[in-house]
């Protein structure tokens, strides 16, 4: 990832080199008694001038690099916008096409003046309901997009992650039981409390549990594991025995609008929103899967000493 250079140690090298060269020139001048005044003066002047030129070159190169970095970031942004626009167009155009057709069908029914029979009235009602459904579908997409784009600065609080997960697992449990999906919990008891934004983390956990249940469909197991991976980080692992994710789709799984669900069933924004939330919380989310054997999503979060615990 590219970073703006700012005042990094790297930027101080040319100045350090200049100072050292000047220091060398001064030392040579002071030691003029030993090596001869004019020789020392010439060597000192040469070393000073070459250090000055070198410094100028390095600063110029640094400025060029910064400029190129900015250009690259800008082109990456433009590419991302292009990709996003194509995704939005596809997701919105499909419901629009259905609404257009249902309207055409209503016009067809009205044109024939044949809407008195119970069948025709039923068809009219059905078409209108379909238009309402498709409007909701568009609304869902635009609202999620706004949610995705909105700058939500996390409000960090100390939280017991096991409890956060358990709250969400209970929510999903009821529906899962009906589909014979068992949720197995393996929470580490002395898991350190973390500084996080509890509502945002809940949103991600719920999304992962819902996805896991969807991938299983019926009869399966969702396993939740919490563990401390190092002194400064914890891991929350969500595994399912569902259909898994094909290898070629693993790279795209966090991309906006990428979905394996049938049309109208998923916006393809859930995992990309989850990904951006976890990054905002200072962590990362990874996925592993073997098609046919399920998928495992792991959230890595920094564990810091908690302050002002809730």
């Amino acid at each position: 990832m590219l970073k703006n250079s700012g005042y990094s140690l790297h930027n101080l090298y040319p100045y350090a080199a200049t100072i050292l060269s000047i220091a060398l020139a001064v030392v040579l001048w002071l030691s003029k008694e030993i090596i001869g005044g004019s020789v020392a003066l010439v060597i000192a002047a040469i070393s000073f001038l070459s250090a000055r030129d070198l410094t100028r070159e390095v600063i110029k190169a640094n400025e060029q690099k910064c400029h190129l970095d900015q250009q690259l970031i800008q082109s990456q942004k433009l590419a991302a916008i292009g990709e996003l626009s194509a995704g939005i167009a596809h997701e919105i155009n499909n419901p629009l096409a259905i609404m257009g057709q249902e309207t055409e069908w209503i016009k067809h029914l009205l044109k024939d003046n044949n809407i008195e029979g119970p069948g025709a009235t039923e068809e009219l009602r059905d078409s209108l309901q379909e238009i309402v459904r498709q409007v909701d579908r568009c609304k869902d997409i635009t609202h999620k997009l706004l949610d995705f784009a909105r700058k939500k600065d996390p409000l960090m609080q100390g939280a017991d992650v096991n409890k956060l997960i358990e709250d969400m697992a209970r929510l999903v449990d009821k529906e899962a039981t009906q589909k014979n999906i068992k949720i197995v919990r393996d929470y580490r008891k002395d898991l350190p409390r973390v500084q996080t934004d509890p509502p945002l983390l809940r949103q991600v956990i719920l999304n992962l549990l819902n996805n896991a249940a969807y991938a299983i469909g019926k009869d399966g197991v969702i396993t939740i594991v919490t563990r401390q991976s190092s002194n400064t980080s914890i891991e929350l692992v969500f595994s399912d025995t569902g259909c898994g994710i094909p290898k070629e789709q693993l790279d795209k799984i966090f991309d906006p609008f990428f979905t394996t669900k049938p049309p109208g069933k998923g916006t393809g924004l859930g995992l990309s929103i989850s990904h951006s939330i976890i990054v905002k919380l200072g962590g990362r989310i990874t996925v592993a899967s073997e098609p046919g054997k399920g998928a495992t999503f792991t959230i890595h979060l920094p564990a810091q000493p908690s302050r002002g615990e809730q």
Partner: protein
């Protein structure tokens, strides 16, 4: 004038293909609708079609792959791409594979009917030319 074209709709969006089928039938077109590229291939093996309305973004087999396979089964069938996904690269690939037209959803019904009619006319003209060429060859042989 009612169209006589035999049309196959291929789209994974169920409501879209079912309502479009009803509308095309209401406009006098003999229409069948299927939900995937694989089903379209099976359908085209079973019976001939004049025009195929094909979606691009579909699971398992996308429209571009399906177009190639459908053209292998029946080179003369005219394929109109009807998609919500606008992409120059995809449009170029579609034309390269012999697609007739590339339409973006939502497409007004009148425009779609006009495109089907024009694709059908092309199909009929091509079939006619092939029949004449075959007749000449038969005459020459006898």
């Amino acid at each position: 004038m009612p169209l006589k074209a035999k049309v196959l709709i291929v789209d994974d969006e169920e409501r879209f293909r079912l309502t479009l089928r009803k509308l095309l039938i209401a406009n006098g077109l003999d229409t069948t609708a299927v939900g995937s590229g694989k089903e379209a291939i099976e359908e085209l093996k079973q019976q001939p079609f004049d025009v195929i309305l094909l979606d691009v973004k579909m699971p398992e087999m996308d429209g571009i792959e399906a177009l190639g396979e459908l053209k292998k089964i029946n080179r003369g069938v005219e394929v109109i791409i009807l998609t919500g996904h606008a992409s120059v690269d995809v449009a170029v690939e579609i034309m390269r594979l012999g697609g007739y037209e590339y339409l973006l959803k939502p497409c007004p019904m009148e425009e779609l009917l006009a495109k089907i009619e024009s694709a059908y006319e092309r199909k009929v003209a091509r079939d006619e030319r092939m029949r004449k060429a075959e007749a000449i060859q038969t005459d020459q042989a006898s």
